[in-house]
Each structure stands twice: as C-alpha cells, then as structure tokens.
C-alpha cells in the first residue's frame, strides 16, 4: 500500500466521527437550537456503543446502542431548553458534564476489553482497482454512511417541504408559530436527530476507529464538530470539506509524530485544537458583512397560547 493511500484512508476514518457529529448539529442549528452538548452525547454514545457491541458481539447492535444513547441524552436537552425554556448554552455545558460522568460510569467495566472493529468493505473487482479502489470501496461502512447522510441532509433541507419548514423555524420562530407550525416539536425532532448523529459519531470511535473504549476518548471531537458547523456557514457542502480538512490535520500530526519530527509530541497533539481556534478566527474575520447563522439560533421560544 502506498503511503499516500494509507494517509487518505486514515484521514477518511479520522474525519468520519467529525462529519457525523457535525451533520447532526447542523440540522439542529438550522432549526434554531444551539446544542453545545455534542461532546457529552458523543462520549455517552461511545460508551454505550462499545458496551452494546461487547455484550452482543455485533457492531450493528453497538452502533444502534450508540444512536439510542445519543438520542436519550439529547432528549434531556430538548426537555430542558424547549420544554422549560432554559438557556441553551448552559444546558449544553451541563449535558457535556453529565455525559462525561455517565460514560465513565457505564464504560468503567469495559475499560481494557477489546472487540473486533467494523470490517473494511471488500467488493471484488471494485476494491482492487489501483489507487482509488480502496479509498472508494475499501473503508468501513460508517465512512460511506456518513457521506450518504450529509447528502441526505442536503436534499432534505433544500429539496423537501419539511426541510423548508425546519429552516423557517430557524429563521424566525415567531413567524413559524404564527403560521401554525409546531416550532417546539420540529425543534425537538431536530435535536433528537442531532443526538442520534452524535451518538453514532461517538460509537464510531470504539467500534471502528480503535478496538477498545477509554474514558474521555472523544478528546474534544464534539467541540471540533461544533466549530465545523460554523466553518461550514451552516451549509452541508462545506461541512464535508471542513470535516476532511480537520481529519487531515489530525492524521498528519500523527504521522509527523511517528516520523520522529524534532518537535515534542505534545505540540503536535495540540495542532487540531489550535487549528480550530485559528480557523474560527479567520472565518469570522472573513465574514464581515454579518453572520450567516440561522437568525433564531440559540434563542428561547415560549409560544403564547
């Protein structure tokens, strides 16, 4: 295998959890809800995903466990912010704090266990095509699922009526309510979708990326996913580019560490985090005319009955 090919393959794998989590958050935010608890939902998804796979011996069951866990945690968020009109920023932080504790509790007895990770696809003929074969047809199924998902989200947002209604809720909840749309219910569904994606993104880590679970293994990926949504200006197409760019930064610093570049490994490990800060600054700076964020993002809505 060529080094370039190997790097691209590992970039795909490293990008997938970012893309999955960011896809969910993009939908949530387009509906006008800022859920900062992505990191918390991911880590719970990771613990439950691993637990499910370890107990059942099935990667698919594990992935489903991750999804359900992500949805349940996001349900708490939805109840708090939509049902009780609590500040979304504070609730998102609370969700992360709770998620880290819960995952530790759930995952404690699985630390040190190993599972067989999700198999890489192998399609006779296609996977063997030189250079592109393994990249296009030889990764694990989650990689392609995440791409299908973001395409589906694009289609949903811009080509369906339900997507139009969702965007309308994110633009102006007062108007959407006045026209009779159930703003809170639509937002709840968006939050649940975000939770499912974050849960799956978390589960991807112990099910496909590494064969084991360790506490805190999401290592800030949830926060990076949040930054990616900003980077993408809330548009699905740019989200894909962003996710792969970040995946590339992560992998390149790993390879650089492996190659024994004369820079301390901690500095290399800090690269993805620093890159996030720099990207946020450059991007915000470039958008001087104003924000492209959904107009109602993060605001509380209490319908008048």
């Amino acid at each position: 295998m060529l080094l370039v090919e190997a790097i691209i393959l590992s970039v795909l794998a490293a990008s997938t959890p970012l893309l999955l989590a960011a896809t969910g958050e993009l939908v949530t935010e387009r509906a006008g809800v800022l859920n900062l608890g992505v990191e918390g939902m991911m880590i719970v998804g990771a613990a439950c995903g691993f637990a499910g796979a370890w107990v059942s011996g099935s990667i698919i069951v594990g992935a489903l466990c991750g999804i359900v866990a992500g949805m349940l945690t996001s349900l708490i968020f939805a109840f708090m912010t939509l049902g009780l009109a609590v500040n979304q920023v504070a609730t998102g932080l609370a969700l992360t704090i709770l998620g880290i504790g819960l995952s530790g509790l759930i995952g404690a007895r699985f630390v040190g266990e190993r599972i067989t990770t999700a198999p890489k696809l192998s399609i006779p003929g296609l996977t063997d095509i030189p250079l592109v074969g393994r990249i296009l047809f030889g990764e694990d199924a989650f990689v392609y699922l995440s791409l299908a998902l973001i395409i589906g989200v694009w289609w949903f947002l811009y080509r369906t009526r339900a997507g139009l209604v969702l965007r309308a809720c994110g633009d102006n909840h007062v108007s959407a309510h006045a026209l009779g749309y159930p703003v809170l219910r639509i937002r709840m569904l968006a939050v649940l979708f975000g939770g499912a994606c974050a849960g799956l993104a978390g589960a991807y880590l112990p099910l496909a990326y590494t064969p084991f679970f360790i506490p805190g293994m999401t290592a800030g990926r949830g926060w990076i996913a949040l930054a990616l949504v900003v980077f993408a200006s809330w548009r699905p197409g740019r989200l894909v580019i962003g996710a792969y760019l970040f995946g590339a930064v992560t992998i390149l610093q790993l390879h650089a560490q492996g190659a024994g570049v004369g820079i301390p490994s901690q500095f290399m490990s800090a690269l993805p985090y620093l890159a996030t800060v720099i990207v946020l600054v450059l991007l915000s700076r470039a958008r001087t005319g104003g924000s492209t964020a959904p107009a109602a993002l993060g605001t509380v809505f209490v319908p008048d009955r």
Partner: protein
C-alpha cells in the same frame, strides 16, 4: 397532555432563593435511585457522601481546601456569565496559572531567593491566567469568533503544554522518571493556617475575592454595567456601556482568578507541578457558579457544597466501592436541576390536558 410555560409579570424572588434547594433535593432523590441501581443502600451512600465528611476535622479542612479553587474560579466565571460572555476554558486558565507560577518556583529552586518568591508566583499565575483568557476574549471582540469554542479548545492546549513541561524541561531529575517537578522550596509554598493542618492561606484569599465580587456587583457602576450588558445588551449600549470592553474585562478577571487558583493549588496542597493537578475544577466551577445563582455569597455556599461531594465521593469509593464517576454524574444532574428550577423564577409551569381544561400543576 402538554407542559405550558406562563411568563410571570416579575421575577419571583422567593423562588430565586429556594430554587437551589429544590434542585439539591431533586438531585438527592435521583442519586438515591442511582445508588439503588448500583446495588448500594441509598441511605448509607448518601450518609457517606454528605454527612460523614462533616463529622471530622480533617475532612472539614479538606472541604475548605477543595472549595478554595472552586469558589475563586466560579466567582470569575459568574462575572463572565452575567455579562453574557461564555468563558468555559477556566480549566485551561487554571493550568496556565499553575505553569506560570511554577516557572518561578522551578527557576529559583535551590537558590538563595527570599520571601518575594511566593508573591511573585501568585502574581505570575494571575497574570498568565488573565492573558490566556484574553485570547478567546480578543478573538470574539476583534473577529467575532465564538468564545465558547476557542476558550474550550485552549484547555486542551494548556493541558498538553503542562504535560510537555513536566515530562521534559522541568522534570525532577531525582523523580524516578515520574512526570513531575521537584517539591517546591518553602519560600515557594503557600503557608498553612493551622500548624500541621491542610487549610492554607488560599482560603483567606478566596474569601476576600468573594467579598470583593459582592461589593463590585452590588454597589458599583462597573458591576451594574456587567449585569445590564448580560440581560439587555441593547439597553446597555443605550446606557453607554461598551460590551466589548466588558467581555475583555470579565474574561481577564476570570482568567486571573482561575490562574491564581491554579498556582495556589500547586504551591499549596500539592507542592509541585504534575499532570492531573485539577480534578476538573474549571468545569465543576461552572456548576458552582450556576448553583450559586451567579451571586458571590451563593457561590461561596455552592463551592463548599460541591467540595463536599468531592470528599464524599472519595470516601464512598474507599468505603463502599462506589465509582468516582458517580460524583461527576451527581454534579451533572445537579446542574440540570439547577437550570430547570431557575426557569421557575421567570415562568409558571402548567400542565394542560386536552385543549381547554387548564390545571395548575406547579407554581
């Protein structure tokens, strides 16, 4: 059946006072259920968590020691949150403060340096924390980048920097390859208040910080500016208050307090710099700030309460084999209940059955 919120004409002051207590009560009930699920007797477990530490002098001192950084950080965070500036990177500012102060301790180690060392370390810690916090604040003010994400990202960076230093240049040559600096000299150590005890000067500093914050918020125009800019940014601009300046100010103050807490922790109870100097003080302080309703006195009480859960959690692990993560779960649940109960200050909750019958479910 549907939950409906009805806006109150005025904020309920009664509920503002009672809501943290309701939240704690609800948390204790939830925790009992969790203990039962874990197969532990809830009454015994709650006793170990919340009563036992209050019964001996050593634990009481230890609670004050743990509460010291929590209160100092939370006071700073409360200023930020009041001004609607979301500093969630206090953990990083705490670490950077510890690193900066330790730099003086490490470089003066074994020299004739006099009693200026500790004050210099405290100043260095505070200044470094403030500067580190100013990075996300400047990114927001100058470029409009979300301070939430940038401040959080810098936590990881600070953590890695500390890790590098204690494994690399600052490692104690006589430390059997453990990632730690040498024990600080006595002039670089925060003095204890009671000979042989754990309670140290930092706790006094924390009390002074609480008093200062109280005066600032309650009596001065600057405190008023901070409060207005958070609840009504447009009105604040109309009042002539500069929101950007306040973001910088509150971030700097909160970074300084976190940095100061960091160096006090290292130069006090720990005595040397090593990874893992914080069991998540910077994040737990977020809970302390909200549980204390962003009020300095409330934060003091909340800080002591959460410190109690740390001590109780350690004892529960030793005596009852309850995992330490339970403490984190407890803290997370507590924050949820606190936020939910705060909603009662602004709204009445009503459960609506069918379309027409309205019943009052809660007040």
């Amino acid at each position: 059946m549907q939950l409906v919120l009805e806006k109150r004409a005025e904020r309920s002051r009664t509920i503002a006072l009672v809501s943290p207590l309701i939240a704690i009560a609800l948390t204790l009930i939830t925790m009992s259920v969790l203990f039962a699920i874990l197969g532990k007797n809830p009454i015994t477990a709650l006793g170990v968590y919340f009563i036992a530490p209050l019964t001996d002098g050593y634990s009481l001192q230890e609670i004050a020691v743990k509460a010291t950084p929590l209160v100092m950080i939370a006071i700073g965070l409360s200023l930020c949150y009041l001004a609607n500036a979301w500093n969630i990177g206090a953990e990083g500012q705490f670490l950077i403060g510890a690193v900066a102060g330790s730099w003086i301790a490490v470089t003066t180690q074994g020299t004739e340096a006099g009693h200026w060392v500790l004050p210099a370390m405290l100043v260095a810690g505070a200044v470094a924390g403030a500067l580190y916090a100013l990075i996300p604040a400047l990114c927001r003010v100058r470029f409009g980048a979300s301070e939430i994400l940038t401040s959080l990202m810098l936590v990881y960076v600070a953590d890695l920097l500390l890790d590098y230093l204690v494994r690399g240049p600052w490692r104690d040559p006589a430390g059997f390859n453990f990632p730690t600096t040498a024990e600080f000299d006595p002039v670089a150590t925060v003095p204890v208040l009671i000979e042989g005890g754990r309670l140290h000067l930092g706790s006094i500093i924390a009390l002074i910080v609480v008093a200062g914050a109280f005066v600032l918020l309650d009596r001065t125009i600057k405190g008023f500016e901070i409060r207005v800019v958070g609840v009504a940014p447009r009105a604040a601009r109309f009042g002539g208050f500069n929101a950007n300046q306040l973001v910088l100010l509150t971030f700097a103050v909160s970074g300084a307090l976190a940095g100061l807490a960091g160096i006090i922790e290292v130069a006090g109870p720990i005595g040397h710099l090593q990874p893992g100097i914080s069991p998540g003080y910077g994040f737990t302080a977020i809970i302390v700030a909200f549980l204390g309703r962003l009020n300095p006195i409330g934060i003091l009480i909340a800080g002591l309460f959460l410190a109690l859960t740390f001590i109780g959690g350690e004892q529960a692990q030793i005596t009852m084999k309850i995992p330490l993560d339970v403490t984190k779960v407890f803290q997370g649940i507590l924050l949820f209940y606190v936020l939910a109960c705060d909603s009662l200050i602004l709204y009445r909750f009503k459960l609506v059955f069918a379309a027409r019958q309205v019943q009052s479910a809660a007040r």
